[in-house]
């Protein structure tokens, strides 16, 4: 179970010595998340969808404990990542945007073994777990340096890495962002099979249609607020205004991405 209650987060301009040392996320106060309430049931997938800058990544970084919320709380399988970071890490599998979370000069197996060790597995257990996961994501016979992997293979390996410590909850930030339609469909099928095992899964995406196919529930995040949360079926009937506004914004995002 993943619950998010009343989470708020603003980006403030840096002050004092921090301002001298670094550039902050913002030069003026920006409210990124405003009273976010969400619940993801065990064995289900919640799709979090929103345009660029809606606050999806900020919310995921708060769940991961990489950012502290200004108010509200997160519980990952009952654990608060602010007060018990290590226990929260043990029950959470995390896939961050793109594939930069992997060591490209290591093989897929070495990446998994390293992360297994970070999560307390012995060398032997980490090796066995790596073999099991590589088999599961279809990379068992392609154990070479990650820089030789295709984008789809790296996305699969990132999911395998998130599963190395067998977490109850899996949170993924746009796992299909750079994938072609076939690789994207394979990734979604893998996530559905993981949910059937009883895992709690939350994934963010730009693609509403993809989430409609993959997720059990969908939450629409617009301007830092949840505009709609419910089952995929309820999205078109009840939340028609949020869904159509979202589709308009996503279309604008895609045109912008394409032009860039």
């Amino acid at each position: 179970m993943l619950t998010i209650t009343g989470v708020q987060r603003s980006y403030e301009p840096l002050t004092g010595i921090l301002r001298v040392m670094s550039r902050g996320a913002s030069t003026s106060t920006v409210r990124v998340l405003d009273s976010i309430d969400l619940e993801v049931r065990p064995g289900s997938i919640l799709g979090l969808v929103g345009p660029n800058g809606a606050g999806k990544t900020t919310l995921i970084r708060i769940i991961a404990g990489l950012l502290t919320p200004d108010a509200g709380e997160v519980r990952i399988a009952g654990v608060d990542p602010v007060n018990d970071r290590h226990q929260a890490a043990r029950v959470l599998g995390l896939v961050l945007t793109d594939d930069r979370s992997l060591y490209w000069r290591l093989s897929g197996r070495q990446n998994l073994e390293f992360h297994g060790a970070l999560y307390g597995l012995s060398r032997r257990d980490a090796g066995a777990r790596a073999d099991e996961l590589l088999e599961m994501v279809g990379l068992a016979d392609r154990d070479r340096h990650v820089f030789g992997y295709s984008t789809g293979m790296r996305a699969s390996l990132a999911i395998a890495r998130a599963l190395v410590h067998d977490p109850e909850v899996l949170v993924l930030d746009e796992p299909t962002r750079s994938l072609d339609p076939v690789a994207s469909r394979d990734t979604c099928e893998l996530l559905q099979s993981l949910a059937r095992e009883g895992r709690t899964i939350m994934l963010s995406s730009h693609h509403l249609e993809e989430l409609e196919r993959t997720a059990d529930d969908v939450a629409i995040l617009l301007d830092g607020r949840i505009q709609h949360a419910g089952t995929v079926d309820s999205l078109r009937s009840e939340g028609s205004s949020a869904a159509s506004k979202l589709e308009e914004l996503l279309r604008a995002d895609r045109i912008e991405d394409h032009q860039a």
Binding site: S101, W104, L106, L118
Partner: protein, 265 residues
């Protein structure tokens, strides 16, 4: 310890893929040793070295053994963190249920091993090619002194890495600490030629004690008992500085969590 060893194995596996860089680093060490030898030929039997046996080459080798080892302690943490930030892997390291000290220890192990290989190569060049008379027993006895000196530098390096975690570039500690230590410890010239006030404050720098003890062991045939005072002072520096360095790293991580400064580069 498991985390530290895992980080060491990872670094070793990654560095093995850059084997050309390793070969170049050994070549640089050899070229540096040759350069040092010819500089030492210019400075034969100086009065200022009257208190030390051996040539200027031996004198400066003993000093550089300490400072080059200490530099590994100073720079390895910051270098590793900057690399993790640039490759985007820092977030997952910070999320993992490991202590910053375990990660820091791991980030230090591989550069430390590499630094040891380079130092052995330099000393091997000195003894085997130049004919330096440094005793092998003295070299072994100086290992604990080198480790203690490196630990004090590591404390500053860990604190500096914490600052780099927030600032991404521009570390105000390692450069000044390294340069001032090089001068104040007398690594490349005898302390006796410094002004009186500089000699007086030189005792505030751990490297001064490390260099002094190492020279006693390598140049003046001293035994372990002769360098106990220096070892005790270095252990005191370590006990004082290492917890402060780790505390500062933790503070910087927490500040990063609050101000959205973790990750990125």
């Amino acid at each position: 310890m498991r985390t530290a060893l895992a980080v060491f194995r990872r670094d070793f596996a990654i560095e093995r893929t850059y084997h050309f860089q390793f070969a170049l680093s050994l070549l640089q060490t050899a070229v540096f040793g040759v350069g040092l030898y010819f500089i030492s030929k210019l400075i034969e039997d100086p009065e200022a070295l009257a208190n030390y046996n051996g040539t200027y080459f031996d004198f400066v080798m003993a000093g550089l053994a300490v400072t080059s080892f200490a530099s590994v302690g100073l720079q390895s943490f910051g270098n590793s963190l900057v690399r993790e930030q640039a490759t985007g892997t820092i977030d997952l390291l910070l999320v993992a249920p490991t202590s910053p000290s375990g990660l820091m220890g791991g980030m230090f192990l591989f550069p430390f091993t590499l630094g040891s290989v380079q130092l052995v190569a330099l000393l091997g060049f000195g003894i085997g090619v130049v004919g330096s008379g440094m005793p092998i027993g003295g070299l072994l006895l100086s290992v604990p002194i080198l480790l203690l000196t490196t630990a004090t530098f590591a404390a500053v390096g860990i604190a500096a890495a914490g600052i780099l975690l927030l600032a991404k570039r521009g570390d105000p500690l390692t450069g000044p600490f390294s340069q001032i230590s090089m001068i104040m410890s007398g690594a490349i010239f005898p302390l006796e030629i410094l002004p009186g006030w500089a000699q007086a404050i030189s005792i505030l720098f751990p490297a001064t004690w490390g260099v002094r003890a190492t020279r006693e062991l390598l140049l003046n045939d001293a035994g372990w008992r002769d360098v106990v005072p220096e070892a005790v002072v270095l252990a005191g520096f370590t006990a004082l500085m290492l917890p402060v360095g780790i505390w500062m790293m933790r503070r910087c991580i927490e500040t990063g969590r609050r101000n959205a400064l973790l990750g990125g580069y």
